[in-house]
């Protein structure tokens, strides 16, 4: 399954409280993702909480969008990505 970077913008800031409510919200996202065969791998959040960079596995960009729609999450950009490791080329070159 391809891997995608999903960029999201939250102009008012994304707040996920570390409470049961926050936990419920996160699990809701996971459940919604499952209906589209989408897996949320991990996210990076800017310090001001207005932007997130989320790594996802999924069958297509459309599935990522549908899953976001179910969880009411914005989608600003989807890019297909692969892993580039700093030591990938060690031993491969001359």
């Amino acid at each position: 399954m391809p891997r995608y970077m999903v960029e999201r913008e939250f102009p008012k800031g994304l707040e996920v409280p570390t409470t049961t409510q926050g936990q419920k919200a996160m699990l809701g996202v996971v459940r919604n993702n499952a209906t589209e065969q989408v897996t949320w791998v991990q996210s990076f959040v800017t310090d001001d909480h207005t932007r997130t960079f989320c790594v996802y596995d999924g069958p297509s960009p459309e599935a990522i969008r549908r899953a976001a729609g179910l969880s009411d999450l914005p989608v600003n950009r989807i890019s297909e990505i692969s892993v580039l490791d700093p030591y990938f080329y060690v031993g491969a070159g001359a």
């Binding site: 391809p2 995608y4 459309e62 969008r65 729609g69 009411d72 600003n76 890019s79």
Partner: protein, 862 residues
């Protein structure tokens, strides 16, 4: 003794219980030959009481199976109530619907058994697909057995399994090999070591029992076990066994005696030995493995003579089945009999939709072309050619058709010659040798004209017009259709008259007289309705949907597509469903309903097997363009792939993909690669009369800087924009209801128009255009550029689609489903479908609640 099958019997019993409660199902019982599939099914049937009706049928191991053989078995059972319904003279769909009706409208649950579907003919495969897709709403179960180890990737059953297995109502069971415990139990009275027996037989129950019965050491194959068992019989009963082995099914006892000149006592002896089993009237082998083992062991001369005798006996019967006669004639190697029965069997197969079987029978007949005689051989070749084309083997079709053409030409058979030239054109079209095809058609017309008006002349003219229409050459299309109209009037043919109406509509759309074209196509749909001709109706709906769709006349196109899909689903016309859906995807793309476009494309992707066909190309091109317009990954490679697939098709199937690529490169500011495909497409567009192809392809040529203004005859909104009249273009696009194009036109205007465009792009999630416009506005020094979409601003209330919103508003106005259907030109069924989707999205279950919820979510003003 049935061992270790309790779990499987329980599963079948549970399915039946579910069926009684209204949830029917189809169960596929797989297992290798001799695994005990039939024994399992028998044990299940024996466990049922009078409250269940059992209908049984089987597929034959004939070299070429009898078309729809299980259905004929159903009909032969007087309890089935299907006797009057099944016949070689009936249309397959009519028979399928009859059986389904029987399974639906029943007080007693029905258990339908279809054995050995790995031998099923194409017609029976169609039947299984038809019933399997609809069984859920019946009170019945269908149980099919098949040898799962014989169904490889190219086996015809494979695609049917692929379509049925994902369904909720399909269940799979596998009959596993026996365990050591079971083998030990079976061998308890014998000297064999159970471990050795298990190793040798892999737990195959039939093999185990054959070895135990033969009692002679351990043979190395099941065939050897059978032969050794038969060899132990006295000569006369053995002769009976050998005689019965040439009949792939049961044989009447009197026939069995006649084949080998044996007596009833001999038959009793054969039965007593356990090789054969009987039911009082007929006898047969205990298993097909045993039968084929015995038949294969016969010396050739003896086998031939037994088949010939069997044939003689069948010929005496009333209404013998030609497939079986042909089978024995072929096995007996008698050319005179093959040429008599094989063509008949082929004709029956054609009527049953069993194409591979028809081809096999016709080929068997043509193996003896000399005995067949030149006239009949040519006749068979024409029929064979037609079936080969449908099986997508155009090269072989061409060979057969050309041989027939040569004979018809030499013997001066005008009508047959012209007809066959028409067929040849079809094969050449499949082979992408278009020009040769035109020449064949021209020749046919030239031959027929001097003979005066005829059905063949009219149809040939119509097809010529059709092909010119497809390649968007209006002039020759009109000339041919006008001549066809005269012929239709003179010979008074209702169908030809209808086809002329249809084609005139299509050609009008091509030349841009859209109103008249749509009016004629709507008229043709109405007339097909009145004529009660589902085949013509399907053609009319498809033409109206795609023709009006190409001209961006959505109000006319959408209802036609929806109705076409509904009709296609009811008749298993899978291709027609996929074609109509692919146009729904294209229209949804153009209307800015991108989620819908993706949904339709997904459906086509998941259901179409022809992954090089027009429907697939159309749907995937729409998906690719959605990705490009959203700035999502994966758009360009998909469009590239579709451009490659579409290269051999007419321009209209490829133009979306090439325009999508051009759009991608324009957005990415890499103009050159976009032009590579676009420029040749533009030349093709100029060579046709299609204003929308000229318009859109021309538009992207203009965007990429290759032309300065609109080409002659480009569709108006595109032409306006290319002439710099962005405002007029935007207004026209707004009327047509293409929001992305509205915004594209506004984006060419000054700041205020650009801001308006930006709002539309943002609402569509069209990021690349929105980014581009923001940059331009910043460069222009514009202030107050909106930040961008924070969430979907234009999403419909309640997450409803535009269509659902439309239906909901009429519900609020108090219309019932039938009135809504009339209002929106939809069928009642489609409206019901929309209404139930609306209920589930709004979380309500009545009309009153829906009305209240509609106000709450803001679907209608308070």
């Amino acid at each position: 003794m049935l061992l270790e099958r309790e779990g499987l019997l329980e599963s079948l019993g549970q399915r039946l219980k579910d069926a009684v409660e209204g949830k029917g199902s189809l169960t596929l019982v797989g297992g290798e030959a001799g695994a005990g599939k039939t024994s399992l099914v028998r044990a299940f049937v024996d466990s049922l009481d009078e409250s269940t009706l059992v209908i049984q049928g089987a597929c034959d191991p004939l070299s070429t199976p009898r078309p729809l053989s299980p259905l004929h078995d159903f009909a032969a059972d007087p309890h089935s109530g299907l006797a009057g319904l099944i016949g070689d003279d009936r249309a397959p769909m009519e028979m399928f619907e009859g059986v389904l009706d029987r399974l639906t409208r029943t007080i007693r649950p029905v258990v339908v058994i279809v054995e050995d579907i790995h031998w099923a003919d194409d017609g029976t495969l169609d039947f299984l697909r038809f019933v399997g897709r609809r069984i859920e709403n019946t009170k019945s179960i269908v149980v099919c057995t098949y040898r799962d180890d014989e169904v490889g990737p190219d086996h015809p059953l494979r695609s049917v399994l692929g379509q049925l297995i994902p369904l909720r109502s399909t269940d799979r069971l596998v009959v596993p090999p026996l365990t050591l415990a079971a083998v030990t139990k079976l061998a308890s009275n014998y000297v064999f070591d159970p471990r050795e027996l298990l190793r040798l037989t892999d737990g195959n129950p039939f093999f185990v029992t054959e070895i135990l019965a033969s009692g002679e050491g351990l043979p190395d194959s099941v065939q050897a076990a059978v032969i050794s068992r038969v060899a132990q019989l006295d000569e006369r009963p053995r002769r009976v066994v050998e005689g019965v082995s040439v009949a792939p099914r049961s044989v009447e006892i009197r026939h069995a005696a006649a084949i080998v000149g044996g007596t009833l006592a001999d038959i009793d002896a054969a039965l007593a030995a356990g090789v054969l089993i009987g039911d009082g009237h007929t006898i047969r082998f205990r298993h097909e493995l045993a039968r084929s083992a015995v038949e294969d062991s016969l010396p050739p001369a003896r086998r031939l003579s037994l088949h010939l005798r069997m044939l003689g006996i069948l010929e005496e019967e009333q209404d013998p089945d030609p497939a079986r006669l042909a089978h024995h004639a072929i096995r007996a190697g008698r050319a005179d009999l093959i040429v008599e029965y094989a063509p008949q069997a082929g004709d029956v197969a054609v009527r049953s939709g069993s194409r591979r079987e028809a081809v096999a029978f016709y080929r068997a007949a043509l193996d003896h072309a000399k005995e067949l005689g030149a006239d009949q051989a040519s006749d068979v070749r024409v029929k064979l050619g037609a079936e080969l084309r449908l099986l997508d083997e155009p090269e072989e079709a061409e060979t057969e058709l050309r041989l027939a053409i040569q004979h018809f030409r030499e013997s001066g058979q005008i009508e047959a010659l012209a007809d066959t030239l028409g067929q040849l054109q079809g094969a050449l079209w499949n082979l992408r040798r278009f020009d040769e095809g035109w020449r064949a058609m021209d020749e046919a017309i030239a031959i027929l004209r001097p003979e005066g008006p005829s059905e063949t002349l009219g149809m040939t003219l119509y097809r010529m017009a059709h092909h010119h229409m497809l390649s968007r050459h209006a002039g020759p299309a009109f000339t041919h259709i006008d001549e066809a109209r005269q012929v239709a009037e003179e010979i008074d043919s209702e169908e030809l008259d209808w086809l002329v109406l249809l084609m005139t509509g299509c050609i009008n759309i091509v030349i841009g007289d859209t109103d008249e074209g749509i009016r004629l196509l709507q008229e043709s749909v109405k007339r097909a309705d009145a004529m009660k001709e589902p085949r013509l109706l399907a053609i009319g709906l498809g033409m109206l949907g795609s023709g009006a769709g190409e001209a961006r006349r959505y109000a006319a196109a959408i209802p036609a597509l929806e109705r076409g899909i509904e009709q296609g689903l009811a008749t298993d016309a899978d291709y027609s469903v996929a074609y109509n859906r692919s146009w729904q995807a294209r229209i949804a793309l153009e209307q800015g309903r991108w989620d819908d476009a993706v949904g339709y494309a997904d459906l086509v992707d998941r259901t179409t097997l022809q992954r090089e066909g027009i429907a697939y190309i159309t749907a995937m091109s729409a998906l690719g363009r959605v990705r490009v317009r959203r700035g999502d990954p994966g758009g360009l490679p998909l469009l590239q792939q579709m451009t490659d697939l579409a290269r051999d098709h007419e321009l209209q199937h490829g133009w979306n993909a090439i325009c999508g690529r051009a759009e991608y490169h324009w957005l990415a500011r890499t103009s050159q690669p976009g032009l590579d495909e676009l420029a040749p497409g533009y030349q093709r567009a100029l060579d046709t009369d299609s204003e929308w192809a000229r318009g859109e392809i021309g538009f992207w040529m203009w965007r990429l800087g290759s032309i300065d203004g609109p080409p002659q005859g480009a569709a108006e909104p595109f032409a306006l924009q290319m002439s710099g009249k962005w405002e007029a273009a935007a207004n026209l696009w707004r009327e047509i209801e293409c929001p992305y194009e509205v915004a594209m036109a506004l984006a060419d205007g000054p700041e205020k128009a650009k801001l308006e465009a930006l709002a539309i792009f943002d609402s569509l999630d069209a990021r690349p255009m929105a980014d581009r416009l923001r940059r331009q506005l910043r460069d222009m020094g514009a202030d107050s550029i909106p930040r961008g979409p924070t969430k979907k601003t234009l999403a419909n209330p309640g997450g409803l689609t535009n269509r659902q919103l439309e239906v909901l508003r009429l519900v609020v106005e108090g219309l019932n489903n039938e009135q809504i259907a009339d209002e929106l030109y939809l069928s009642k069924k489609t409206v019901e479908h929309h209404v139930s989707a609306i209920y589930s999205k709004l979380g309500v279950d009545s009309r009153t609640q829906a009305v209240n919820a509609a106000t709450e979510v803001g679907a209608v003003p308070k």
